[in-house]
Homo-oligomer: 449 residues x 2
């Protein structure tokens, strides 16, 4: 064994260690992701943690390579990359079985992703991601159904339409807006990356960049204004804005989408914002991002329609719409808004609270009965813990029972073994103590009732 | 976008794609891992998917590098490796906070691991692993407590002591056995890897390899016999065997361990087998492996005591005992024994069965009421699905309700929207249909009761 150097004892830059309390907060978020996905009728899928590098360059071009953790087993072998996102794997899975899958197919996924970028607030090199996708349905209803699932997650975690907004746009509407401002159709592919970065640029820098693409400063200012405008769908100016700027192409879609969002009960979360374009090249229609209303943190989630991607991966032409949500920004937003329950409350909600804490009254007969009793309780499905302390001070041990588990949540019951045959049982929630000791072989039945 | 080549559309060698039914079987196993860990009082932790390469070479030597997926971000930067196992990360986490952690600390973990080996039956390049560890307790009771948790998982999944055996050994007892056979103490480190491979060698090959280490063939045959012997702990020959061969060192420990295994109700799963040595260099005491009684598949699980590892990672000297169980061999054993429930049954147990399937009677008013009703049901926490078919044939739609969800499990209730105001509700489990339509705004309350 070689002598260890210091860095071996720290997590790699941009990754996280999770002790029980920290992991419980992650599980709290993941549990909500799963619960909301299921109740909206999505089925869970999964794939490899790493894929052939080409799976990512096919979709995103060679430019993505610098953002990936890639590796070979030996020189000349195929190159792999840790997944930066799940959508290419999903497209591969769908394309391989497209003919036997239901229409629509609704899939969700939640695992880790990896980006080789500089860690900063809201961005890590390893993070958890939740995806939900609807494949085989090109209707505005499917778009609204997906957005409703996203909104339900936000509500599930205690967020409200006042704190968080779902900003919705459409690639076609943004194209029309640009064409309307005199942009040549051939230069559109250069405009989307600029628009996607606009929020991070000063107005002057944006105007300068737009100038390089041939747009006069006064028009660039108009464009900036149009992009900054967030309007509720029911606002009369919305349709007017779309009619004028999208040349009659946008309003019909947005009118239908809004009706579906209203029917799904989530219209109050949603605003129209043509500043949302999403950087990824594969979006073909509606796009959206979820932001804090204050604009404080990065985007909480983002997604949209990608009707050509399944075909690119060898499947039939298949309409598709989906979104991804990472755990890092979401957790910051929940912290900003004091929406994480206390650790003890999380233990209750996740079902990790101990059911029973077993202590001995200190006699040899009772000591000897603890292990078989624990075995019987666990066999019956109870989460049973014991004291490991050498003390025979029952008062101290009782205190351990009331603080056992995550965040000191305490066990639901304490069982004090009084002999080889019977135990005193107290309900720590109600304070009720059963009047006489209960025979050990009847304890499981007693606790079940 | 470059033109895709064929290999981009397949999972990398030795990794798996999981469509919903396949993933549900994995979740069924993971759910049992989690449930059993919790009820035995283990808290969950997690760490990065990749670590600094040195974290693994410190523990296992440079020899492990060829079995790792390792990578650098750019030339000269630190080298990372995908985790081949979790124990080094656990040791790093424990060492960093040893002084503030409870004694004992009981941790479990379940995620993916990666080995760059040739895929074969029972071995993949990416697999799921469950670990449970008890740190800070050097007693045979802790060893038994750990083994009891492992046995409870086997029982939870329907395995029995007739089908599966926990083969227990001890590094010290094996050392004594070897010294007793004339092995020089200095050569012991060369013997453990050979003993670990013994099951994969023919007797002749083992005798030849032992000869290279200086052991005469008749003694090697005796050694093989001793290693092949699996005896129940209560068998009188067991103590005799240990007394003779372990020079009086083994029996006391095994006597204490057996008493604890009996108290924990798992003695019938356990046999003594000095052929178990575990290849990893860091074990210091008791070691065990779980095998099918038939010996058909590879080891289902393995672990043991590693009392010096925490110190090696910069922590205080800390007794520790743990085991790991992968999903691949376990799943093969469950299949061999027909112990996987049907997909529909798995859906029920995992709670992924749809609660409600909503269909419309085909009128415009009913069609328009479906989306708001779905939203209300999901908001109330129900797993609600709908029909996406264009048909107005209620009979066909009812059939979809009875086969919705994984494995055609079917929804618990079907709701047929009759108008904008009311719906017929039928319990698909009992066949009971509520006599008159229920107002839509009372449906959530009705389904809750």
């Amino acid at each position: 064994m070689s002598s260890p150097s210091q860095h071996a004892f720290q997590a790699p830059t941009g990754t996280r260690d999770f002790y029980p309390a920290e992991l419980a907060r992650v599980r709290y978020v993941q549990d909500a992701w799963r619960r909301v996905s299921l109740r909206h009728g999505f089925d869970e899928i999964d794939g490899p943690t790493f894929e052939h590098l080409e799976l990512y360059t096919v979709k995103s071009g060679e430019g993505i390579v610098s953002e990936l953790f890639s590796f070979q087993r030996f020189s000349g072998e195929k190159t792999y990359a840790l997944r930066p996102e799940f959508t290419p794997t999903l497209a591969r899975l769908y394309a391989a079985k497209a003919n036997s899958l239901a229409r629509p197919t609704k899939w969700f996924w939640q695992q880790t992703c990896f980006r080789a970028e500089r860690p900063q607030r809201g961005r890590l090199r390893e993070f958890l991601q939740w995806n939900a996708d609807i494949l085989g349905d090109d209707s505005p209803r499917a778009d609204a159904e997906l957005i409703a699932c996203c909104a339900d997650l936000l509500r599930e975690l205690g967020l409200t339409p006042e704190k968080v907004k779902i900003r919705i746009s459409h690639r076609g509407a943004v194209e029309s807006l640009l064409l309307n401002k005199g942009v040549e159709r051939e230069t559109l592919p250069k405009w989307f990356p600029l628009l996607d970065r606009a929020g991070k640029l000063s107005n002057d820098d944006f105007i300068a960049e737009a100038g390089k693409l041939g747009m006069p400063p006064p028009i660039a200012v108009e464009l900036l204004r149009a992009m900054a405008l967030s309007t509720p769908f029911e606002n009369p100016t919305t349709e007017l804005m779309l009619s004028e700027q999208a040349g009659g192409r946008g309003p019909e879609y947005f009118r239908a989408l809004f009706a579906e969002l209203k029917a799904a009960g989530v219209a109050d979360w949603c605003v129209l914002n043509l500043g949302i374009v999403r950087g990824l090249a594969y979006y073909t229609g509606m796009v959206f991002e979820v932001h804090e209303a204050s604009g404080k943190e990065r985007a909480i989630a983002g997604g949209g329609r990608y009707d050509t991607l399944i075909e690119l991966f060898g499947g039939p032409l298949t309409p598709a719409v989906g979104f991804g949500m990472g755990d890092v920004v979401l957790s910051l937003v929940l912290q900003d808004n004091s929406l994480f329950p206390a650790d003890a409350e999380i233990a209750k909600r996740l079902g990790t609270r101990p059911d029973v804490f077993v202590i001995s009254n200190g006699t040899d007969a009772a000591d000897g009965a603890v292990a078989p009793l624990l075995a019987a309780l666990r066999h019956a499905g109870f989460h049973a813990r014991r004291s490991y302390k050498a003390t025979k001070n029952v008062g101290k041990l009782l205190k351990d029972a009331t603080t056992a588990g995550l965040g000191g949540v305490g066990a639901r019951f304490v069982v004090i073994v009084e002999s080889g045959a019977a135990a005193t049982v107290k309900n720590l929630e109600s304070g009720h103590q059963h009047p006489e000791p209960i025979p050990l072989n009847q304890l499981v039945g007693y606790l079940r009732s």
